[in-house]
Amino acid sequence: MKEMYDIIVVGAGPAGSTAARVAAENGASVLMLEKDREVGIPVRCAEAVGEIGMNRIVKLRPEWIANRIEGVRIIAPDGTRINVQHDEIGFVLDRKKFDSDLARMAAEKGVELLTKAYVFDLIKEKGFVSGVKFRYLGEELSVRAKIVIGADGVESRVGRWAGLKTHLNLQDIETCVQMTITNIPLEKNYCDFYFGSDVAPGGYLWVFPKNENTANVGLGLSGVEAKDKSPIEYLKKFVEKHFPEGAVLTTVAGGVPCAPLMEKMVGNGIMLVGDAAHQAFPITGGGIYTGMLAAKIAGEVAAEALKSGDWSEEALARYQKLWEKEGGKDHMRAYRLKDPLFKLTDEDLNKTAAAVVKKPKAKHTIVTIFKTALFKQPKLIAVVLKLFLRQ
């Protein structure tokens, strides 16, 4: 380890590893610090991604893919199922392997990496973040850097220490729990989404198959819906009802930001990426693609800033501008739809499902479903069309 790097990345998830790799490819010296003992564990994620978006950032390797998804089904509170018509192929990833390989790809470009390295503060000088303080196997170390990239997840303390507002309101977080359950009957190529106040108020429950008899089963509730009953209680109830023969291989909890665009994700010598920057897509909570896309831009902008000798907030703000241009509009559209969609009553949901299944199969698209659900709110239908049809 050196005393000084161009960039220190805090957190070695997909966003951290991507930012680190891209910065290193563009000539920066990079140190990445992971607080846990192993990159990729635990898997706090439903693990599903779309093919088209992901391949724009990193070519998906066969060994990262646990299962190929050909169909998506939405299940209403009364059990009505909609087979959603869509063109894109999806994948359920093996996040453990995926995360580990992304870190390895960064290392192959010269990124130095440590695990069990717990960052507990930032070094700040003259209004600039200029390094981190961390504990590593009993030692307290200070390492300096021109730019610190906080990829430290939903709890981003790096952002807070830098003075960026990363706190989430209860209505902007989904509180989640997931289990990997095996020995269950599944249709391997279908991802199922369950809605309703019984399964996941203010959110949804997912069943994403990983192989022929094992699935990632989990749910998220809006923070404002979790007061009386917690996610784990909902999940236990669902599993007992639907998968009584199932055996639980993993149980993992987690929070997902489903929040507006962050006002500021950069400062002097500091950038945030991934969940730390609230980049998860607000209606699905999916954050792998959006976080990695932002991280790629962040890595490029950071490397350019180093070359030009200016890593002030103004210089790094180019990252935020570019990210907002790429994903910002859709992010805000999705955020606008989140509340109206997730506040639908069971009766609304059942009516929507009944109306959609009566239509010809080719019309069972996500746009039809949203349009049907939001028919009373024409302004929001315009948002749906812009979001999904790029009109």
């Binding site: 939903v154 807070r160 989430l168 209860l170 729990v177 979790a226 149980t251 909890a253 987690g254």
Partner: protein, 57 residues
């Protein structure tokens, strides 16, 4: 005050993300609540996916 059931906690950080006063510190498998900073708002208790936090007013 808020107390952590360390045997239930999954160390996921959901509580940290909603704490308005930065009173929660998360290591790999340790969660510490700074009782002096805590303002008893109970947001962390509500969002904890596993109900690993207990509020006693």
């Amino acid at each position: 005050m808020v107390q952590v059931k360390q045997d239930v906690c999954d160390f996921c950080g959901t509580c940290v993300s909603v704490c308005p006063v930065d009173a929660i510190e998360l290591l790999e498998a340790v969660l510490i609540i700074d009782q002096e900073k805590c303002i008893d708002c109970m947001k962390c208790v509500i969002v904890c996916p596993l109900r690993a936090l207990e509020g006693t007013k």
